[in-house]
Amino acid sequence: MIGGLFIYNHKGEVLISRVYRDDIGKGPFPNCFHKVGSTESYRMRNAVDAFRVNVIHARQQVRSPVTNIARTSFFHVKRSNIWLAAVTKQNVNAAMVFEFLYKMCDVMTAYFGKISEENIKNNFVLIYELLDEILDFGYPQNSETGALKTFITQTGIKSQSKEEQSQITSQVTGQIGWRREGIKYRRNELFLDVLESVNLLMSPQGQVLSAHVSGRVVMKSYLSGMPECKFGMNDKIVIDKQGKGGATEEQSIAIDDCTFHQCVRLSKFDAERSISFIPPDGECELMRYRTTKDIILPFRVIPLVREVGRTKLEVKVVIKSNFKPSLLAQKIEVRIPTPLNTSGVQVICMKGKAKYKASENAIVWKIKRMAGMKESQISAEIELLPTNDKKKWARPPISMNFEVPFAPSGLKVRYLKVFEPKLNYSDHDVIKWVRYIGRSGIYETRC
């Protein structure tokens, strides 16, 4: 299991250090300054230093998120310029360690916002308290923020009543560890966001090399009591099962794979493909899914690059929007890479604004809004400096960003039913909101 957890700033200074097991201090670590004396704390410093010297200060780019130094394994993730490192000497479950580190980041963000050196220093007592709770002897424990916030509060003195105490402990250890009892709202309301990111890799000839949508259903709920919810969408398997009788005018989609928040009863999904759960209060990511079939690609990019001699490039890029004319895409940005030896660029575009950004080696073309079934064009002349560099320019792909008000996968929410048998509100009393947002993921066209 995890032997210790360290948080470093970008210089490699330790901000948080929590050691769970002694074994991780035993080096000998190469390249590490060995302090005289071998008291516990000094030996621990060796592991701490080993990571700093070998990873944070390494000259080379990081080649692996797992590093083994002197039979000690270091797992790290980076959030802005903060390094989180978990250390172990055992054959731990590596996937679990990374999942835990991400979770740790989520919990910290939920408590004090952005993970920055400033925030960590300001909250280090809280972080120690959290670490004590969510990682015991290196075993991850309940790390749902909803549950943690009931008893790790930093307000200190407040002493709970006996009932409150047992409510806390049963919630932390219980089956529904993510929701506490006795939540009350005057207005029962829920918001469903279907957030999709559509990914595309297209060849210069317009052939789809790979395309997939990875989507998330995010639910924000303000519901009283312990509501039992059931979520339905136009999943092909479900529709086909029921389909025979009713008219199947509804378009169904084939979902390649989906994963669920831990509140969803997986065995029920496996058996009946129904999604039922008791949601955590507030926001949660109910489901993630992936589709690859019949994706609506909102934009098509048609590049044309021509090398005119050795010192000039002519680039023409056409974008075509491919969705209902009544809908509007927003925040459109096309990024056309330019060679490193670019000396000047002239751009002409029909719509939006285009600029050559020398620092990013790209022409960035921005369009605020664009309706469906439209077309727009940019052409640019790129002047090049002659170089001796033998290596050809790698021609990175043209990438695109946008946001559209529909789900490119075709997913539709059919229902979200709420049952709360103990309280006197019914499914009809709940106010429900559904919103679809499709964003570009990695949306690239090679040129």
Partner: protein, 975 residues
């Protein structure tokens, strides 16, 4: 957090946070100040002071001097302050054990607090204070907490047992905590169950022998129920624990799989990977024709693909695991090539792993797409990635014959870019393509030669030299080219030197008239001016070969080369099986067994995939692996390594007979799956990496001295050349045929491999033990129409580590209808794997036509060693010491020998009679046997005068061998 802001404004403190220079020097004044604050009456001030202390501790300052003052703050009803003090205690208790005792009282009191959060906090912290004296006081509170009414306390106490075990294992056992912990597996609260499982699993790992996690269908059922209810982390603990269980039969295996499959939809990747591990493992037991089996296979692909949309670090873990899964069961992901296409902004570690998997999945169906991708990658920025992409193009050419031409032209395009490292990499792979498809693409040689000057890496230089030597007759100025390399001969790396030597000898044999001077020059450079023994030896061999028999030299040096394998970097099958059992863990990320990076007893345990049960096809199963022929890894349970691998092994065997692979492995501790009698052979197995990259076919490999340059196996070496050849020949003359008449029982020869199955090669044979040496006696008959040459033999891992002690000595080609008798000395230091039946041996024989596989059984008496006579006293003690459960009784019927005759007959086979007793007309013979791996078998043979039925009782610590030993008795006594 107004307090912290104050701290940061406090210049003294703030500067320490950022300036490492102050870390080691502690100003006396500051400690003094803190001391005063800690002893303040005001609660708030106290708390602030403790916070400051903790801050100093974090940045590495030594604040241990404040120990008593901090401990004094412990008695408080302020939970936050308490936690801070505890944190301090955990850090410094070990350096101040005596003072830490001061804290004990408070802990004990807190363990009885009315608030469950405080009870849990106390027991949690106490476990973290690693001071022996304190642990004694911990026992009573811990016992109470394990039975606490509040699940939060119980789940914390469960982990505390693991902590205590880490400090003092004996104490935990003596106090009976392990039993309490086991009871917690049936707890009503899922989180308590999960923590108990985690704690027990870890404790069990350091006690490989103990039966701590007594997994049986009932407890498994409990775990599966808890699985649906506990937190994501708990699910991981439980799944990882389930993976250690071996179901009794395929039905149980299926029902567990059914209940684990829903976990594949969990949002937590670690839950998914652990579920995949359980499924991959238990799937082994399912019959392949089962509908459920194929359903399960289909269910595995989507979640694996989904893992690739996780954060990059997890993607990396997932990809390393997918790499293993693809090797084990390529069918799962064979249609998912596209998801492994590299994205422009993937981190480099993800890119490299994706590329690896792309090559593994490349097939005729998707090769066009793959090649187009690889060509893109070859123009990227990262040097390692580009190199790997170029290499991958070469792999595609070798793997998919239809694509070879396109690959070659792609490589030529890349060479035109003149990017130095791209050119070098391309030349290395083109050499391999030449090897695979001789006389097909030689037209490109001219282009390659143009780039000769730009090559500065040894591997590329060696590859180019090999090409020049190999095609010397087509390159007009081959002699000039090679001569140009000779100038700086001593500055070259060994790899290049060896290659240059071989290439010039090849050139000489092809164009003797023009190059005599050159060859003499290189031979003298290699033999006289070099300090490298490999180079010198190879030089001498060539020299002698050329001077004694140029015809033979031609046969040897220009012999046809063995094929190169299609797959590279395949993980050795035993290791792969072990790694599959470790899916999701570090071992699967490193692709190394845990013993390679974990210290102490934890790494010793080797995990293995369960064997298929049910239908009686166990003996046939090896054929499944090989029947598929070229597309070897298709059929998964290949006990015999896939063909490509085997070829590599055979080559390997020619150069370094297995006898050199090290001393017999020490018998390490018992293994979980009843592998105890086999010892830790796997350990050494992992150590023996292929000394020569099978892919290079030894031609370029810079390592071992001989063999490489010969191209073909030493088997075709003319007998006149006996100087530097390894011990193989000598051994044979010493041992072969001489055979001491010891009277050991030798079973009659039987046909092992009928000619029908082996393209005309018939093999029959038997095993014998002569003068302490185990021999395999083979009769090879060629019933085909063509001549057979290039024989070589290789064994699969087997129960007793039998391995050929030298190459198969078939010196002359075997003509049609010819028969040859060969005896092959065997050693028992080869890799070990338990076989069923125990004495089963799987053999691969190679000749110029193909590789053939068969399996045979050897009499275990072969393994009875000469010093198997036990002292009487020792015998008595041992007999008593072995539990009665290990005793087995057999009847030998229709044996008409008296006890003395039987005794002497048995002695011939190294079964020694130690004592004889006669009770009521019944002779009792006590005998001992020692097996080559050090296992003792004790026997009691009862012979009643006039009764032709003997009774034999066998006692052994490894009762598995009893059946085989009994068979030997029967065979020896009746022949």
């Amino acid at each position: 957090m107004e307090w912290a802001n104050q701290l940061c404004e406090n210049r003294q403190f703030g500067s320490k946070m950022t300036d490492s220079k102050y870390f080691t020097t502690t100003k006396k004044g500051e400690i003094f100040e803190l001391k005063a604050e800690l002893n303040s009456d005001k609660k708030e001030k106290k708390k602030e002071a403790v916070k400051k202390v903790i801050a100093s501790m974090t940045v590495g300052k030594d604040v241990s001097a404040l120990f008593p003052d901090v401990v004094n703050c412990m008695q408080t009803d302020n939970l936050e302050l308490k936690k801070l003090v505890y944190l301090y205690l955990m850090n410094y208790a070990k350096s101040q054990p005596d003072m830490a005792i001061m804290a004990v009282n408070t802990f004990v009191k807190d363990c009885e607090d009315a608030n469950p959060l405080i009870r849990a906090l106390a027991v949690r912290t106490m476990g973290c204070i690693r001071v022996d004296k304190i642990t004694e006081y911990l026992c009573e509170p811990l016992r109470k907490c394990l039975k606490d009414e509040d699940p939060y306390v119980r789940k914390t106490a469960a982990v505390c047992v693991a902590k205590l075990h880490d400090i003092n294992a004996q104490l935990v056992e003596d106090q009976g905590f392990l039993d309490t912990l086991k009871d917690l597996i049936s707890d009503s609260n899922p989180m308590v169950v999960a923590n108990a499982v985690a704690a027990l699993s870890e404790i069990a790992e350091s006690h490989p022998n103990s039966n701590l996690l007594d997994l049986n269908p009932q407890s498994i059922n409990k775990l599966l129920t808890a699985l649906n209810e506990c937190t994501e982390w708990g699910q991981i603990f439980i799944l990882d624990c389930l993976a250690n269980y071996t179901p009794r039969d395929d039905r149980e295996s299926q029902s567990i799989c059914e209940r684990v499959t829903p976990r594949l939809s969990h949002a937590n990747s670690a839950v998914v990977l652990s579920a995949v591990k359980v499924l991959m493992k238990f799937m082994e037991m399912l019959p392949k024709d089962l509908d459920y089996y194929s359903t399960l296979l289909k269910k595995l692909a989507p979640p694996l693909v989904t893992l690739l949309s996780a954060e990059p670090e997890l993607q990396y873990v997932a990809l390393r695991n997918i790499n293993l899964i693809v090797q084990k069961r390529p069918e799962i992901l064979k249609h998912e090539m596209k998801v492994f296409f590299v994205k422009y902004n993937d981190p480099i570690y993800v890119k490299l792993e994706k590329l690896d998997i792309m090559i593994r999945l490349a097939s005729q169906a998707n090769i066009a797409q793959v090649l187009a991708e690889l060509k893109e990658y070859a123009t990227e920025v990262d040097v390692d990635f580009v190199r790997k992409a170029v290499r991958a193009i070469g792999r595609c050419a070798i793997k998919v014959e239809q694509s070879a031409e396109r690959c070659v032209s792609t490589l030529l395009d890349l060479i035109q870019t003149k990017v130095n490292y791209v050119v070098q990499e391309a030349i290395v792979v083109i050499k391999d393509i030449f090897r695979k498809y001789p006389n097909k693409y030689e037209s490109v040689i001219a282009t390659l030669c143009e780039n000769l000057d730009s090559l500065d890496e040894p591997e590329a230089r060696a590859a180019m030299i090999w090409i020049v030597g190999e095609y010397a007759e087509r390159i007009d100025n081959a002699d000039e080219l090679l001569e140009s390399f000779l100038e700086g001969f001593h500055d070259e790396s060994t790899q290049v030197q060896l290659q240059l030597l071989t290439a010039i000898v090849k050139l000489f044999l092809k164009k003797p008239t023009e190059t005599q001077e050159l060859v003499q020059q290189v031979l003298s450079l290699a033999t006289q001016d070099s300090d490298n023994p490999d180079l010198r030896d190879r030089g001498y061999i060539y020299w002698r070969l050329l001077s004694t028999d140029p015809v033979a030299a031609k046969e040897v040096v220009l012999a046809e080369k063995p094929l190169i394998s299609e797959e590279t970097d395949l993980i050795e099958p035993t290791l792969l099986e072990e790694l599959i059992c470790h899916i999701g863990t570090l071992a699967s990320v490193y692709h190394k067994p845990p013993s390679a990076f974990v210290e102490g007893s934890r790494g010793v345990m080797h995990k293995r995939l369960p064997a298929r049960t049910g239908s009686g096809e166990s003996t046939e199963s090896p054929d499944v692996g090989t029947a598929a022929g070229g597309s070897a890894p298709e059929a998964a349970p290949s006990i015999i390594p896939s063909q490509g691998d085997l070829l590599g092994d055979l080559l390997n065997l020619d150069m370094a007979p297995p006898t050199t692979s090290g001393p017999p492995p020490p018998t390490t501790g018992m293994q979980m799956g009843g592998m105890d009698l086999l010892g830790g052979g796997l350990d050494s197995l992992v150590g023996i990496s292929h000394s020569v990259d099978p892919y290079l076919g030894g031609d370029i490999g810079g390592s071992p001295a001989m063999g490489a340059g010969f191209g073909a196996a030493p088997a075709v070496m003319p007998a006149s050349l006996n100087a530097p050849v390894g011990g193989g020949l000598g051994d044979l003359f010493d041992l072969g045929g001489v055979g001491m008449p010891m009277g050991a029982y030798i079973p009659p020869k039987i046909v092992w491999l009928p000619a029908m199955k082996a393209k005309g090669l018939e093999i029959s044979g038997t095993f014998a033990r002569r003068a302490g040496v185990i021999q395999m006696e083979l009769i090879l008959t060629n019933k085909a129409m063509s001549v057979m040459t290039d024989f070589a033999i290789q064994f699969n891992r087997n129960s007793f580590g039998l391995a050929p002690a030298g190459p198969l000595q078939v010196l002359t080609p075997l003509g049609p209808n010819q028969t040859i008798e060969v005896s092959l000395p065997l050693s028992t230091v080869g890799p070990v794997m338990k076989m069923d039946p125990l004495n089963n041996l799987q053999v691969a024989v190679k000749n110029n036509i193909d590789v053939f596989y068969f399996s045979c059984q050897y009499p275990i008496s072969m393994l009875f060693v000469e010093d198997g006579k036990m002292e009487r006293q020792v015998f008595l003690a041992t007999w008593k010491d072995i539990p009665n459960d290990n005793e087995s009784q057999f009847q030998i019927k229709d044996c008409h020998l008296n006890s003395d005759a039987a005794s002497s007959k048995l002695q011939g086979s190294n079964i020694f009679t130690i004592a004889k007793r006669t009770v009521e007309g019944q002779d009792m013979l006590y005998m001992s046997i020692k097996l080559s791996n050090g296992i003792w078998v004790l026997a009691e043979l009862r012979v009643q005068a006039g009764n032709p039925n003997y009774t034999i009782s066998l006692k052994c610590r490894a009762p598995e061998v009893s059946q085989c030993v009994f068979q030997c008795y029967e065979a020896v006594l009746k022949n």
